[in-house]
């Protein structure tokens, strides 16, 4: 990203207001971080006044709370309970509707009415990576989710290189942050060395460049470009949580009968929080509803979770009938089998599942414990001798 210095421009909050306004004028539904219910969530925003100015978040296993910063940063926090998947892969979506005529004939019509054109403000590196993961899930296989693809292709993305990580972040282990790698239209880095925050902005796409041009901002100075680079380096240095991904798929495939699953199952509530907050989890279920006359019907899809008991129901029983088997499925899928299925890890290291687990189960700790047990398992010792 440094090589793009020439095209980097310097913005203030007023320019970002101008950008939001321009996007809204062009028909985008602009969404971004905002404070609600003691958390930073994603919702529609009209200007920078809706952004969490001067707020930050403290995150730990099972803990999330907001506190004030001593500056006026607009992006001085990490990720909250929401992710952009709520716009690209809505938690509830009509897949089709059916009309039955008097003579019994069926007319079945595809899904939702109109799909909004979104502009996302403040997409982090891990979140951009999560969107790329879901691209592979919904648009990279044999069958495609056309609703996802329409939303995704029309989305305008303003990314932010993180200047502040949470204790739960481990993007550096997953290779997804704190700098945004690619896939955005415009990326911002927030500079807080003066009373007024400044933003070094660069465009990755021509449409992003056109918006920057419309703002009429000055080129970023060499010092500011350098300072932006340092913001990212400082954030990298502040991240302490780690996940060892070396041979992790094989390690997990070899750990299916590990006792650690019983240990974590004794703590896990099977509450599904981790899967709901995860920006890559894609599992869903369908439901069918009808009007009272039984002549018109709707088929909708809702987010579901591999932690729910009915998820693997087949006549005759539930396949994953214990918390042990369900937690094993979740973690092994995220960090292991996802790689076989989609050519990428299903985890981007955002830490949401850690902060929002009511009992503070930490995916990195579980993976480390499994690795430790795997490495000291009798089979390994035998193999070594």
């Amino acid at each position: 990203m440094q090589e793009a210095t020439a095209s980097q421009v310097s913005l203030t909050a007023r320019h970002i207001d101008g950008l939001i306004e321009a996007l809204r004028e062009d028909g985008y539904t602009v969404v971004g971080p905002t404070v609600a219910d003691s958390a930073i969530v994603y919702d529609e925003i009209a200007s920078t006044a809706d952004l969490p100015e001067g707020w930050t978040d403290m995150q730990q296993p099972g803990k999330y709370r907001l506190s004030r910063r001593d500056d006026r940063a607009l992006f001085g926090y990490a990720v909250g309970p929401h992710s952009w998947k709520k716009y690209l892969f809505p938690s509830s979506l009509k897949l089709w509707s059916t009309e039955r005529a008097e003579d019994g004939a069926l007319k079945i019509e595809a899904g939702p009415e109109e799909v909004p054109k979104y502009a996302f403000i403040g997409v982090r590196g891990c979140e951009m990576a999560a969107i790329r993961v879901q691209d592979r899930v919904f648009a990279g296989g044999r069958h495609h989710d056309s609703d996802y693809m329409t939303r995704r292709e029309s989305a305008f993305i303003v990314a932010v290189n993180c200047g502040q990580a949470a204790e739960t972040c481990f993007c550096t282990s997953m290779g997804t942050g704190p700098a945004v790698e690619s896939g955005y239209d415009i990326a911002l880095t927030e500079l807080l060395d003066e009373a007024e925050p400044r933003y070094v902005a660069e465009a990755e796409t021509s449409i992003g460049a056109a918006y920057l041009q419309r703002l009429g901002a000055a080129d970023a100075t060499a010092q500011d470009a350098e300072a932006a680079q340092q913001v990212v380096e400082k954030t990298v240095a502040s991240i302490t949580k780690e996940l060892d991904t070396d041979g992790i798929k094989e390690m997990l495939y070899g750990s299916r009968e590990d006792n650690r699953w019983d240990d974590v199952a004794s703590r896990c509530l099977s509450c599904t929080n981790c899967t709901m907050v995860c920006p890559t989890c894609f599992c869903h279920s369908v439901t069918e509803t009808s009007d009272l006359q039984m002549s018109s019907f709707e088929h909708t899809r809702q987010w579901d979770s591999c932690f729910s008991m009915e998820f693997t129901y087949v006549a005759g029983g539930v396949v994953r009938d214990t918390t042990r088997s369900r937690y094993r499925q979740w973690l092994t899928h995220k960090l292991g089998s996802w790689i076989d299925q989609f050519g990428t890890s299903g985890c981007v290291g955002c830490g949401r599942c850690i902060a929002w687990c009511p009992v503070g189960i930490d995916i990195t700790e579980e993976a480390a414990a499994l690795r430790k047990s795997h490495e000291s398992s009798p089979k390994e010792v035998e193999d070594a001798t």
Binding site: V137, S146, S285, S290
Partner: protein, 285 residues
């Protein structure tokens, strides 16, 4: 990486939204099992590979995966054979000629009938498991150039639960296949075998070293059948099983049908045992 690199272009219709189909004929197979001969309402000719399944949709109730069990005689309709176990299957079993339903698919891979071109084909089916393999047996039989023979081992709970008796009889009498049946529990008048389907594998000769086996039925039964076949010398990559898991989409998107790294709906439902042996042996995977 290009952000949209993974985004491909077109979307085949009929995958994500059902097409209207009409029941041409419906008949009871067993006390709890019905066959439906269904055709697209727009008159188009349906295609499928033996082993594939459709998502059959009953408006107001839901949609479920059901294997195609045959082509109609004129090739313009598909037969599905449904056992009544819950809401959707019961509604399907109550359908009459002229009724409409929605259909997505066919989905999934199929039985590799070609792999048995010059080898003996051993089919081991249990209960309703005969339905998904019937079209594969039919295809093998219809292939006059085939080298090997076809042997069908079929077990059911009781004599009155034996599915497709007419086909079994016709195959056996005409000599196109060797057919061996067994039941868990005899009923008055039954003079055939009693016991698990694996207990009758000695009742027909086949070249175990080179044979190809298709196994379909309850998972426990398949497990026993596989161990038996392996011990007779069949190679694990020539034993094929059709697996069943909860399915909501049928097209690799909803996540329900996963078994380890496999999506049963798109990677299967048919797998060579060599690909899934380590998965099938873990409880609750």
């Amino acid at each position: 990486m290009n952000p949209t690199e993974a985004i491909a272009t077109t979307e085949a219709s009929g995958d994500t939204v059902p097409s209207p189909w009409v029941v041409r004929a419906a008949w009871r197979e067993l006390s709890d099992t019905t066959s439906l001969e269904i055709a697209p309402a727009d008159g188009s000719t349906p295609r499928f590979q033996p082993g594939q399944f459709s998502m059959l949709y009953m408006p107001g109730i839901g949609d479920i995966p059901v294997s195609v069990s045959a082509y109609s005689d004129d090739g313009k309709a598909l037969v599905h054979t449904v056992r009544e176990v819950g809401a959707v299957s019961a509604a399907l079993c109550a359908m009459k000629a002229g009724d409409w339903l929605g259909v997505r698919g066919p989905f999934g891979n199929g039985w590799p009938v070609d792999a048995a071109a010059d080898r003996d084909l051993i089919v081991i089916a249990g209960g309703l498991g005969l339905a998904p393999v019937r079209p594969a047996i039919q295809q093998a039989i219809d292939d006059s150039g085939r080298g090997g023979k076809t042997v069908v081992f079929y077990g059911s709970r009781s004599p009155s639960a034996l599915l497709f008796r007419d086909d079994l009889l016709q195959w056996a009498v005409s000599g196109v296949a060797e057919v061996r049946t067994t039941v868990d529990r005899a009923e008055p008048g039954w003079r055939g075998n009693v016991g698990l389907v694996t207990s009758i594998l000695d009742r027909a000769a086949f070249d175990a070293e080179s044979a190809v086996a298709f196994v379909c039925g309850p998972e426990v039964m398949m497990r026993f059948a596989v161990f038996d076949l392996l011990s007779r010398g069949l190679s694990a990559d020539r034993i094929f099983l059709s697996l069943e898991r909860n399915m909501h989409c049928g097209i690799g998107l909803c996540g329900h049908c996963q078994l380890g790294p496999k999506f049963i709906c798109t990677d299967g439902p048919v797998f060579p045992y060599s690909e899934i042996s380590d998965l099938l042996t873990v409880r609750g995977l």
